[in-house]
């Protein structure tokens, strides 16, 4: 049986793993190669590296990190952050990444999704979306495009690390991403992210029931039950978590033991 994947996410800044809260107070959390090997030995099913390097001059550093990490890693590695064009994707795959994750660049230029999927294969193109719930009812006479918000929209897509609202409906965008040929969706709820109160089950469930590609749920893991809830009730294929693993609240083994007691299929270590 296909198992649900447990994916630790590591933020990389100028070649080092960092921890922070909302990109503030970044603290050094170690060497990416060592941490990658640690999570691999712990039974992680995949790893995600997110390059949060702010300056483009230092952007090339992530290539060296991916090269050295992938030398010793024999599970899939996804790299995201600042990839804007086919040549960026190519250099990341060449360095040893198995998949790339694109976010803002896909919103600005949706054709990047089908170009990249055609060129490199959809299996290595992950599209990440950062989503926020619409709290104040909006009134829109006529949506500007096929993916624009309308009066029934529940969630809006944000770009630029969650700083910029786009006027795009998250569910319509998810469907378009799948249609354009992406292999997987990584959905982060900005409302639940960092709060450790659980994933946005309604959001993830709405997305998984609207697309037929795998969905990784992200944002809000604080307790073991949060992980099982999103896998059981929202039909997510994988869960991404950062702080519960970095702060060693739980080990991957603890997560997998817990999930298997609930008969959620996982890969035993």
């Amino acid at each position: 049986m296909l198992t649900k994947r447990i994916i630790p996410c590591l933020d990389i800044n100028a070649g080092r793993v960092v921890k922070g809260v909302n990109f503030l107070n970044l603290q050094d959390a170690g060497n990416p190669t060592e941490l990658a090997e640690y999570y691999d030995s712990e039974g992680a099913d995949e790893l995600v590296f997110l390059d949060i390097t702010a300056s483009s001059e230092k952007r090339f550093i992530i290539i060296d990190v991916v090269k050295s990490v992938s030398e010793k890693l024999f599970i899939p590695l996804t790299v995201g952050g600042g990839l804007n064009k086919l040549s960026d994707i190519r250099s990341m795959l060449k360095a040893g990444a198995d998949k790339v994750s694109i976010n803002t660049s896909a919103v600005i230029n949706p054709n990047l999704i089908n170009e990249a999927s055609d060129f490199f294969g959809s299996q290595c193109i992950v599209v990440a979306i950062d989503v926020k719930k619409i709290n104040n009812k909006i009134y829109i006479e006529e949506p500007k495009s096929d993916i624009s918000l309308d009066n029934k929209s529940k969630w809006e897509v944000f770009t630029h690390g969650g700083r910029k609202p786009t006027g795009i409906d998250a569910i319509k965008w998810a469907k378009k991403i799948a249609y354009l040929g992406a292999g997987e969706l990584l959905v982060t709820s900005m409302d639940t992210d960092g709060k450790k109160e659980g994933y946005d089950l309604d959001l993830i469930k709405t997305i998984t029931s609207n697309v037929n590609i795998p969905v990784i749920a992200s944002g809000g893991a604080g307790e073991l039950k949060h992980l099982s809830d999103v896998l059981q009730y929202s039909n997510a294929d994988a869960v991404l978590a950062a702080s519960i693993f970095h702060y060693k609240t739980y080990t991957i083994n603890q997560v997998k033991d817990y999930l298997s007691t609930l008969n959620i299929p996982i890969r035993p270590n």
């Binding site: 049986m1 296909l2 198992t3 649900k4 994947r5 691999d40 099913d45 992938s70 030398e71 024999f74 599970i75 899939p76 795959l93 060449k94 040893g96 198995d98 055609d118 490199f120 294969g121 959809s122 299996q123 290595c124 292999g183 997987e184 037929n212 590609i213 795998p214 294929d237 994988a238 890969r267 035993p268």
Partner: protein
């Protein structure tokens, strides 16, 4: 055979370096090459693959690799196809128009609509035919898969393992010294590395 010459076929369709690293992790050296003369003289071939069928066949054709691969396989030297490298061994695929290598009878089919595609993640293999590639690998072991199409061999006696995903599909084949796996052993942790180790040992044993 102590230091077999292993060649990884380069037709710009996959992450070749990860395959090379997995062989190196097991103490073997492998050359990445698109040269027909180097491929023909190898002691063993690894034929990886990712992406789409038509562009892959086009690249193999441009590089004059089709005949050399076909005659290599008919010489019965060890050959391991991975993922798309397994599907390309058959006659055709529903994914594209191109004729594939046709060294095995059958074609590749898309997964049913009842399951998400691609089939992505860790799934189990039920071993039907114990063979050198699976030495020390238990039935129901987990491997990493990522694909939307699966091979449907006409002759089901070559199916060495099956995997469940909406349908029970062929996740590996063996026919004499020709082997193929649908999963990615180079991304499948210790079990996957064991597959490469088994392949290397099989080459060294010289049972050719």
């Amino acid at each position: 055979m102590n230091k077999p010459k292993i060649t990884i076929i380069d037709y710009q369709a996959s992450n070749l370096r990860s395959v090379q690293k997995a062989l190196e992790a097991n103490g073997a050296k492998a050359e990445i090459s698109d040269k027909p003369e180097i491929i023909a003289k190898s002691d063993a071939i690894v034929f990886p693959g990712q992406g789409a069928i038509d562009p892959s066949m086009k690249k193999l054709n441009e590089k004059n690799l089709i005949e050399v691969i076909q005659s290599y396989i008919s010489s019965n030297k060890p050959f391991l196809g991975i993922c798309l490298g397994l599907q390309l061994l058959f006659e055709s695929s529903d994914e594209g128009e191109a004729n594939c290598l046709g060294v095995l009878e059958g074609k590749s089919k898309l997964f049913p609509k009842s399951v998400k595609t691609p089939h992505m993640g860790w799934n189990q293999i039920q071993i039907n035919i114990q063979n050198p590639l699976f030495d020390g690998i238990k039935s129901n072991s987990y491997f990493y898969f990522v694909h939307s199409y699966y091979a449907l061999p006409k002759n089901n006696t070559i199916i060495s393992s099956e995997t469940d995903y909406g349908v029970k599909f062929c996740s590996s084949i063996v026919k004499n010294n020709l082997m193929g796996v649908q999963f990615h052993p180079e991304k499948s942790g210790p079990n996957g590395l064991k597959i490469y180790n088994n392949f290397i040992n099989f080459i060294k044993s010289g049972k050719i």
